[in-house]
């Protein structure tokens, strides 16, 4: 999702067609629903009452669409509460430090045009 909204326009130099974005967002929504209903349920963390590697994997993935401007946690209070818990367990400083690069992606300098051209086909492949 992050790839389609953020990385691809930067790399391909063109906006992603709205239909592609719409279907991707719909899929993201479905996944988030499953995360809430099947995994999180009424638990504090994804696999039970304590933080586990499952929470680390999940949170780092979800920070991607967040960095692309997709308000994943805003409309989902259950997930937002879980995020707070994970951030508290991990430690706020460490959490911010780990996500510094992905949160600053808008400020990245433009990619080298030669590298852009080289990577373009594999990026386009990911869009399919």
């Amino acid at each position: 999702m992050w790839q389609k909204q953020m990385m691809f326009p930067v790399f391909l130099g063109e906006q992603v067609p709205p239909e592609t974005l719409a279907s991707t967002l719909a899929e993201l929504d479905r996944c988030l629903q499953l995360l809430e209903d099947k995994f999180l349920k009424d638990q504090d963390f994804v696999a039970g009452p304590h933080i586990s590697v499952a929470d680390l994997v999940a949170i780092t993935e979800l920070m991607h669409p967040v960095s692309a401007g997709c308000q994943v946690f805003k409309s989902r209070p259950k997930l937002a509460a879980w995020r707070q818990r994970v951030e508290a367990e991990v430690g706020k400083d460490l959490f911010q430090e780990a996500h510094a690069a992905v949160m600053k992606v808008e400020d990245l300098p433009p990619a080298d045009p030669a590298i852009k051209e080289k990577l373009k086909p594999s990026v386009q492949c990911l869009l399919q």
């Binding site: 499953l34 209903d37 099947k38 399919q128």
Partner: protein, 242 residues
């Protein structure tokens, strides 16, 4: 209540679990769920696995989804021989590495070839789309190149020197396109030799039994029985393959 395994032997991860349970003498009750008839989408199955996918396991009140998680659960609970999932740290890490990689690198492209070649034509009544098939075979190629050219050049099995869960998962996945006429082993000699080794280690009869369904040509009347469902499944497949 004995262990229940919800499987469709058309599905490679289901076959891996079936073979593992039989090979290790694990007592279980087979609960067939017919993917081709959309039984995984019905409310009764939703209670077993809200993710609407196979395989699924029910051990008393304990419900478990995801083939890798199920294989590991069975390995640990029934104390399978250690070659399946080694105790040594780095050997185990190699098996973990393969099991993590294979979901997107092998399972998705290999299954897509099978869907394009067999299930989609069966449900839609349309002939196989050769352009799409070719494109999908192309997407599987990097994984085959890696396994044949790099992994099996260094050792006889995919993760360690012995048959492990990695080989079991890979075997049933790569049999999927092969069973329906896309023999992916024909261009890769090390993979072909590995396949023979795995089949011998698992037992040819057990392998044959597990693959009986997928090796049979499908009965066209099956799809016509519920045309509305067939249409819905075709839509899902077309979305997945696009």
């Amino acid at each position: 209540m004995p262990l229940e395994l919800f499987l469709d032997l058309y599905s490679p991860p289901c076959r891996a679990i079936y073979i593992f349970a039989r090979k290790n003498g694990i007592p279980f009750e087979l609960r067939p769920v017919d993917l081709g008839r959309g039984e995984h989408l019905k409310p009764e199955f939703l209670k077993v696995n809200p993710l609407r996918k196979l395989p699924a396991l029910k051990d008393g009140d304990f419900l478990l989804a995801e083939s890798v998680a199920i294989l590991l659960y069975l390995s640990h609970k029934y104390q399978a021989a250690t070659h399946w999932y080694p105790t040594e740290l780095q050997a185990r890490a190699r098996v973990d590495e393969y099991l993590a990689w294979q979901h997107t690198a092998v399972q998705v492209p290999a299954s897509n070839v099978y869907l394009c070649k067999s299930l989609l034509p069966h449900l839609s009544g349309q002939p196989v789309d050769p352009v799409q098939l070719d494109r999908l075979l192309g997407k599987l190629k990097p994984a085959l190149q890696h396994l044949d050219g790099e992994v099996l050049a260094a050792k006889p099995f995919l993760a360690t020197e012995q048959l492990s869960l990695a080989d079991l998962m890979a075997f049933t996945e790569l049999m999927q396109p092969t069973a329906v006429g896309c023999d992916i082993f024909q261009d890769w000699p090390r993979l072909a030799a590995w396949r023979a080794r795995v089949e011998a280690a698992l037992g040819p009869e057990l392998v044959q039994d597990a693959h009986r369904l997928v090796l049979q040509p499908r009965d066209p009347r099956d799809a016509q029985r519920d045309p509305k469902l067939a249409q819905e499944l075709v839509q899902r497949l077309l979305e997945r393959l696009s």
